[in-house]
Each structure stands twice: as C-alpha cells, then as structure tokens.
Amino acid sequence: MSSPKIDPIRRPILPSQVVKDDEPALVAAAKAGDISAFETLVGRYERKIFRLAQNITQNREDAEDAMQEAFLKAYEHLADFEGNSRFYTWLVRIAVNQALMKLRKRRPNVVSLDEEVDTGEDLIPREVEDWGPSPEERYEQSEMGEILSNAVADLDPTFRIVFQLRDIEELSTEETAEVLGLSVPAVKSRLLRARLKLRQKLNRFFRQEANS
C-alpha cells in the first residue's frame, strides 16, 4: 500500500494578505509626518487588527478600543520601527498588547500567557470520525462563520491567541513567540493543543453523521 501524502495547508493569497510593494515607502512617508500615508497603512490593516482584537478580547467594545489605541500608539512610536520585521508584525505586537490589557482588566485572574501547560494529558483523540470531503458545504456562509467564531471563542485565551497569531495571522512560530513573550517550545505546545481542541469542537458539526 502506498503512503498517503500530506499536502501542505492550502493558503490562497487573500486580498488582506498581500503586502504591497509601496509599503516601505508609505512607512517612510508616515514617519516623516505624511498623514495620508499613515491612513493608507491603517486602511490596509484595520480589518485584520479589528478581528485580532475581537478574537482576543471577545468583547466588541474592548476590541474597538484596543484597535484604536493600537493605531494611535503605532503612529506615536513610528520612529522606533526600524524595518527589521514586517510593518504588520510590528503592528500586531502593539495590537496584541492593547487587546491583552483589555482582557486582563476584565478577567484579571484568568489570563496568564506563560502559565505552564499541562503536558500530562493524553492528546490522542479517542473517538475519531471522518468529516467527508467538503463538510463546510453543509452550512451557509454565515452559519459557517458563526460556527468558527464560536469554536475559537470557546478556547482558553492562551490557546486562542497562539492559534490566532500562527494559523490565522500566519506569523511564524518565532514571531509569535516574540510578540507574546513566550519561548518557541511554549508556542509550539500551545498551538498543538489549540489545533486539537478546535478540531474536536468542530467535529460536532462536520463529522459524517452530523445532520444525517
């Protein structure tokens, strides 16, 4: 029997992910005080930063505040951006910090990112059912959106944020570690658990027997 191949994740380039060539010039112009250049940068990333803040805070009002504060702080500290990383990664770091501050304010006892993860648990899923070829086709787009956002919202914040940065915002493991002040192994173990937990949560909707 020949071995099944694991294809890499299909990641079509979404409009929101295209880094345009003019970005370094826009950043330079914004640094020199060009307001419209800065607003162009805001326009490029406002949706992603808002989604990021919403997924972290799980609160619309906090997300809006965190997004506003992130852009204002970015403007204030533009001189500190040296261009060693992508502008977006730098912006994400600021936004994550703002969003975490909001989350910690609301849930002071719950959020500690660098808390030890219990590695004693058995991660091997016990009941494994396949999903079939296109399980998402069973749902309308809006229903699908709701299923996904509820599944993420249900995750423990520390897993949720790592998953958000690695798998949704597509930061590298190293960038995620840097943004969150975690070690690379800590990011990896949280990502592993986040992926398994999400898979489990989605299983209810997508397993072959669901809806049948």
């Binding site: 029997m1 020949s2 071995s3 099944p4 191949k5 694991i6 294809d7 890499p8 994740i9 299909r10 990641r11 079509p12 979404l14 409009p15 929101s16 005080g33 307001i35 800065f38 607003e39 805001v42 406002e46 949706r47 992603k48 808002f50 989604r51 809006e64 997004m67 506003q68 852009f71 204002l72 403007y75 204030e76 058995d122 991660l123 091997i124 899923p125 494994v128 059912e129 396949d130 999903w131 399980p135 998402e136 959106g145 996904l148 993420v152 998953f163 798998d167 949704i168 597509e170 990896k188 173990s189 990502l191 592993l192 992926r195 398994l196 999400l198 898979r199 989605l202 299983n203 997508f206």
Partner: protein
Amino acid sequence: MKCKALINELEVYFDEDIDPALRAEIEEHIAKCKNCRVVVNTCKKTIEFFCNSDPAPLPEDTRHRLYQAIEKKLRQPRA
C-alpha cells in the same frame, strides 16, 4: 512512530519546510493507522477553514470612530 509521537508532531505537519525524513515517517504511520489519518486530515481542514477566511469589513460606526481618533491624534504635534 507511535500515535502519541505523531500527535505531538502535529504542530509541524503542514509546514512546507518539514524535515523530509519526519514527513516520510508520518506518511508511513498514517497509511497504516486510520485514526491518525483522520486526525491529520480533519486538523488540516480545521486550519484551512480559519486561514482561508478574509476578515469582515469594519462596521461603519467603528470605522468612523477610528478615523476620527486618528485625525484628532495626528493633528497634535508628535513628541
């Protein structure tokens, strides 16, 4: 490779730059183990559902308040 070792590698499975020897070990295991094959495939789908969704546009009032705040800030001289 045992199931537990395989699950523990789930974080690197789908990276394009995964070590070819590790990839081969994983593929050999999932050819024989249905459970792990299903976990790998459904996990991959899970990630794809999320990474393939573009963020929704900002609600109009949220967007309006954002640009108002920026305008206000940008008019002040920068420190």
